[in-house]
Subunit: 189 residues, 2 copies
DNA sequence: GTCTATATAATGATAGAC
DNA sequence: GTCTATCATTATATAGAC
């Protein structure tokens, strides 16, 4: 099925998306130029305009679909903290990482609304549904906030307090913090 | 005391710093142009170069000195969670906010090292010293991560799970999460 | 489907008049 | 101390050749 305006090469579009995710993930939205993406994808800059219309269009096509928490949800909630901490620890420091992309792109006012919509629908809602007790949406928000804050401090900024410690200490601390939110019923402390 | 190169107006330098903090706080480092800062400060663009050398020089002069946690530390650690949650809730949505500036500027590779140094020295170290038990630096890192993640999700992105809830629920959830890290001794789960 | 070429605007930075 | 003027560069976006 051909596009109405111009013919489309599926592999070119995919190469642009892959490059865009890498670049947005490592340099944020404002810090990323279309030329850098095009070079990384090995295609001409003009093709980005042809395929995605604008920089913002490319961002919308690249990032929100990657916010998938199925691996996080696979298992009992009594082990959520440990499971999440292990998943966050296993990721390679290089390449594309949806959480890093999210953190770095959030700085841009043009990205925040799209991220908000995607997070509410694809992360908060399903996560809240798995929580027992009160204030499930607030606690789901706190879980996401804890994971994002951990990545911000550990991987984006790299504070010594976290990076200088043993991996087991980090995992334990993160797992405990997450599990505490899961297990709490949301009532006042 | 005059500068070696050119004469200095203290009030002009301060106006530039104030404007830079506001702008970096709301639009990040890459999303902020020197002209926007100059306009907001009511001064000429060229003066920024004269006073701070470069955009990076201005950032280094503007942001790190504002990372002050003395108000957070004033009081017993048994009430740290509630105190922090209240402080984070009281801030006005407008104007300069060091935490928002930190979150939005961290996206830039040129800013992260300076932020890391400032956070390690001015936040993690004094906070870890106030914690009892084991792994004090990791837990101090988790406390900072939780607060930053909360602001990222609540104020920068504004996910509905947090923003759509009553203030008391948010404060309780944040306070409980922070206090749990303070009270834990750092041992495994 | 992909390219060259370009329009238009904004960027950070600096030289030098006043 | 502050300004005008301008530099070289880069940005996003488009028109149109092939």
């Amino acid at each position: 099925m051909q596009n109405a305006v111009t013919a489309i090469s599926e592999r070119t579009a995919e190469a642009i998306l892959v490059a865009a995710r890498k670049r947005f993930s490592s340099h944020g939205y404002d810090g990323t130029g279309l030329r850098a993406i095009a070079d990384l994808a090995g295609v001409n800059v003009a093709l980005i305009g042809r395929y995605f219309g604008s920089k913002q269009g490319l961002f919308l096509a690249a990032l929100p679909p990657t916010l998938d928490i199925s691996r996080l949800m696979g298992g009992p909630m009594s082990e959520f903290g440990a499971r999440a901490a292990n998943l966050m620890d296993m990721r390679s420091p290089r390449g594309f990482d949806p959480m890093l992309a999210l953190i770095r792109a959030a700085a841009s006012p043009v990205c925040a609304p799209a991220l908000k919509a995607a997070l509410d629908r694809q992360v908060i809602a399903p996560l809240a549904m798995r929580l027992d007790g009160r204030d499930t949406h607030v606690r789901a928000g706190m879980i996401l906030a804890t994971m994002a804050g951990y990545d911000l401090m550990m991987r984006v900024i790299g504070i010594e307090g976290l990076r200088g410690a043993a991996g087991a200490q980090r995992r334990n601390s993160l797992a405990a913090a997450l599990q505490h939110v899961v297990d709490s019923d949301g009532g006042p402390g």
